[in-house]
Symmetry: C2
């Protein structure tokens, strides 16, 4: 295992110290392992809390800041955060207008966020939740009932973040989150496994001439394995299941995220093959992200996300955002 | 070799098509393999041209756009662009105020940019050049006389880009470039080799328990190999040679760039170890970048860059920039 770590048991704590040192706009609660907007809570603003297992950076901690999340709870690598972490985050960002929990559909995340919501409610904080389940690869998986939640979460956090920043109330923000979630689909592929530091060896074995089509972001099995193919063929394996799953025609926000071990030149090359397939399917890619946004430690691979986006969603997408992972001005 | 490619011989052309499809603010000259600002040439603005071998993305093509470069010439992977490419870029961005060539110190790049400058001069375009040679690891290297040019180039392109955007003339922009170059130092480390697509196998052999300290961004040998160490020890191996090389005390812009195969969680963890060492050395890290900015294909590793930055440089750093690789508002 070749990684920049001190000790497999202190990876999360050490990485959070790095975030604290490197990112000026956030405050890191090292005890609760929560990354917070430095100016939280914002009075009268709906608070946005997400979180999940670590190892998917920049998601979620890299999306904390003006125009996006108020807090992100960091679990151990590939492990759900606890209800206590989520409660601490919820209390820290509540500015009196309620809090939305943005949850990826993994059983541990869902159960723990539900418990945290109940605990927060008991303390008088109104909490609503949205669960993202956008991965078209498989129904049910290693840690999931139903579909896994992946890349649409990134797009959702940006769009809902803009709405909360603009002063929309909790009902409106929740309805918007449901709208984004309903309009997003994702599909991934792995060329290699990842290595969890505490395990010290690859999560799964993948022969040198094979790839895993439909892989999950923790290395969960996908649809099938097959011989390593060209970028042109892989593009089709990512696009077709998405277009088969819903009518994606019309304007959209498209994200091609690397999984951590794949460099940008390959992602651009792959996007060059994806673009004409999306266009042929009627997808009008109005906004495009190519880079590392939702990762799986050091896995070589990529995931494609398509979110259908009307004028409302595009306008919120374009609103200013100031986070470590996404940043632009008005 | 597990990569998203179609054919090892078409990697650059295919990747440029991906850039063209994904990045709205640029125009890709596929014949000359030049990435240009969509609105080039800008009348009365000093044109900024950089370039080099591909495989270091987002540098340089990802830094083309308002507030940064006007054009980037893309050579084949780890191969200098030709004088013809550089001449085409120079002519395409000249708005009558002259052009600055930003060159990393590799012999091929330097010679080809010199020839391109002569050819452009013969056509009546005034060209000045700055050569970045900031890598403290070694004196002379596989493809370099003197020091190699690495991460300071990224910082320089942003700062000089802001000055050119603000209307500074060629003499002022060149002087500013020399100032940034003189104030920057870098040091890198590799945990693995990279694999050049056309070679199909790792550039060098590095045993599972070893790392290369002072590696170049093409896999050139560094200072020495030693046993894989903790992030805390590696941080010292990056910081000490820089602090030993010049008086880095005072305000600075600090960049920790991944080399392509290292995920963000490890970079933040490593930065958490670097930060206190820099502070102990008197470095006041006013602006910090952690992520992939200058890479070496799929190499696992990182490089640290420290650029001493007075108020002038910090103000130019903070000016708006709108590129695929760096983007922020006013």
């Amino acid at each position: 295992m070749k990684k920049f770590i001190n000790d497999p048991t202190t990876v999360l704590a050490d990485a959070l110290r790095g975030v604290q040192a490197a990112v000026p706009g956030v405050r890191v609660d090292l005890d609760n392992r929560v990354i917070l907007r430095a100016d939280a809570p914002r009075s009268g603003k709906v608070g946005l809390v997400s979180g999940g297992g670590s190892g998917h950076e920049p998601m979620h901690g890299g999306f904390v800041g003006p125009g996006m999340l108020d807090a992100a709870c960091a679990g151990e690598v590939f492990t759900s955060p606890t209800p206590d972490q989520m409660l601490a985050a919820t209390k820290a960002v509540d500015g009196g207008a309620g809090v939305l929990h943005i949850v990826k559909n993994y059983t541990g995340d869902v159960l723990n966020f539900e418990m945290a919501a109940e605990l927060a409610s008991a303390e008088g904080i109104r909490v609503e939740s949205v669960v993202v389940a956008d991965d078209v690869a498989v129904e049910d998986s290693t840690w999931t009932a139903g579909r896994r939640g992946v890349g649409t979460t990134v797009i959702l956090e940006k769009i809902v973040g803009a709405a909360a920043e603009a002063g929309q109330d909790l009902d409106a923000v929740k309805a918007l989150a449901e709208k984004v979630s309903a309009n997003g689909r994702s599909m991934g592929v792995a060329l290699t496994s990842c290595t969890v530091p505490a395990a010290g060896k690859p999560t799964f074995e993948l022969p040198d001439d094979q790839m895993e089509v439909g892989v999950g972001i923790h290395g969960e099995p996908g649809r099938h394995r097959e011989a390593l193919a060209s970028a042109r063929e892989i593009a089709r394996m990512l696009v077709d299941p998405i277009l088969h799953d819903f009518d994606a025609s019309g304007p959209a926000i498209v994200m091609l995220s690397g999984l951590g071990g794949t460099p940008l030149i390959e992602l651009y090359l792959l996007y060059g093959e994806i673009a004409p397939l999306l266009a042929a399917g009627g997808v009008d890619a109005k906004r495009i992200l190519v880079g590392d946004y939702i990762t799986s430690l050091d896995m070589a691979g990529a995931s494609l996300t398509v979110v259908k986006a009307d004028d409302e969603l595009l306008r919120l997408w374009d609103a200013p955002v100031e986070t470590a992972g996404l940043r632009w001005g008005a």
